[in-house]
């Protein structure tokens, strides 16, 4: 498989997961917003290890939801000779970086 085709497959995989990752990112931000209201923690949240860990902890849920909602989706990727790790690792990094960039943007806007 060429690098270009791999990136294409990765984009398709990410697109299939995007509704779940976006929803759970919103849940994480919603929890920090709630925390800001109840516990007087800062809002928008600072990008630190705690927030990144919270975001990373959503991925098992994303995987579970993907498996429940579209149990058949992995067959196409196996036919492209891609292992779960080759798909999940870049998506995990990309989505977490995207989330971090969004939190950074929120901090800029609120500053």
């Amino acid at each position: 498989m060429t690098l270009f085709n791999y990136l294409r497959a990765l984009a398709l995989f990410y697109r299939l997961l995007l509704p779940q990752t976006a929803l759970l990112s919103a849940v994480v931000l919603g929890a920090t917003w709630l925390g800001a209201g109840l516990l007087n923690t800062p809002w928008p949240p600072r990008l630190g290890p705690g927030l990144v860990l919270m975001k990373l902890a959503t991925f098992p849920v994303v995987a579970y939801l993907g498996q429940r909602l579209r149990p058949e989706q992995h067959w196409l990727f196996r036919n492209l000779h891609l292992s779960p790790g080759q798909l999940w690792a870049p998506v995990l990094v990309l989505d977490t970086v995207g989330f971090g960039a969004f939190v950074g943007l929120l901090n800029q806007l609120w500053a």
């Binding site: 085709n5 299939l16 058949e72 036919n79 292992s83």
Partner: protein, 226 residues
């Protein structure tokens, strides 16, 4: 480079040592299976007897301890990770609904016009999302794309399901043409079509795989055909 591109000598796919117990029931028991390029091999058996599980064990997505899947004597587990070796059509839909035939073909490295050439009405719909096609048309598309992937072997789980009778003969002819360059292992409940197509027929019964020297009488004797 795919296995098929390296040389034109026949390749041998073998799977053995496949034993699987699910929920206390022995599903597969010490199965041995072989397919060579240039062959269409049928895998028959009743619903729930383990045909799909066996195909997935060969493909490598169903983990089976001690399973040995070999190509030309070389162990390839999980086989799906080897480029140019296997493609697998599952019973469930393969392609995401928003993907078009053209997009799927591009991903799979298939020439869409060549793959759909025997089905002009399907070729006309190659730019439509799969989700807009009827179930049978989408199934036909998936079978054709996987058959045309550059792999030495294709494993097809119920390729005729939902396909219009008028298309089944044409699809069978495509399979016959393609077996010149690949080995095809298929399972389907349309026994008449499978028997007419296959060079070798295996029957999976009570977890054991039996190669039927005379498939028609073998199936009749065992009550699979009237």
């Amino acid at each position: 480079m795919g296995l098929m591109e390296r040389n034109s000598t026949p390749h041998l796919l073998e799977a053995d040592g496949i034993q699987l117990t699910l929920g206390g029931r022995v599903l597969l028991s010490d199965v041995y299976l072989r397919v060579t390029t240039g062959q269409v091999v049928g895998l028959l058996g009743r619903n729930g007897c383990g045909k799909s599980t066996l195909l997935q064990a060969v493909f490598g997505t169903q983990r089976v301890a001690d399973a040995s899947v070999r190509v030309d004597g070389r162990r390839v587990v999980p086989a799906y990770r080897q480029p140019g070796l296997l493609s697998y059509l599952p019973q469930v839909p393969l392609l995401p609904a928003h993907l078009t035939a053209t997009g799927a073909a591009r991903l799979l490295g298939v020439d869409v016009e060549q793959a759909l050439a025997a089905f002009p009405e399907l070729l006309e719909q190659r730019h439509r999302p799969v989700g807009e096609l009827s179930g049978g048309t989408a199934r036909l598309l998936e079978v054709l794309l996987l058959l045309h992937t550059n792999t030495a072997f294709s494993l097809l789980d119920e390729p005729f399901t939902g396909v219009m009778p008028v298309h089944i003969d044409a699809l069978a002819q495509v399979i016959r043409d393609l077996k010149q360059r690949k080995g095809i292992l298929l399972t389907d409940h349309r026994y008449a079509e499978v028997l007419a197509l296959c060079d070798v027929v295996y029957l999976l019964h009570d977890g054991r795989l039996e190669c039927l020297p005379d498939p028609l009488s073998g199936l009749r004797d065992r009550g699979y055909l009237k």
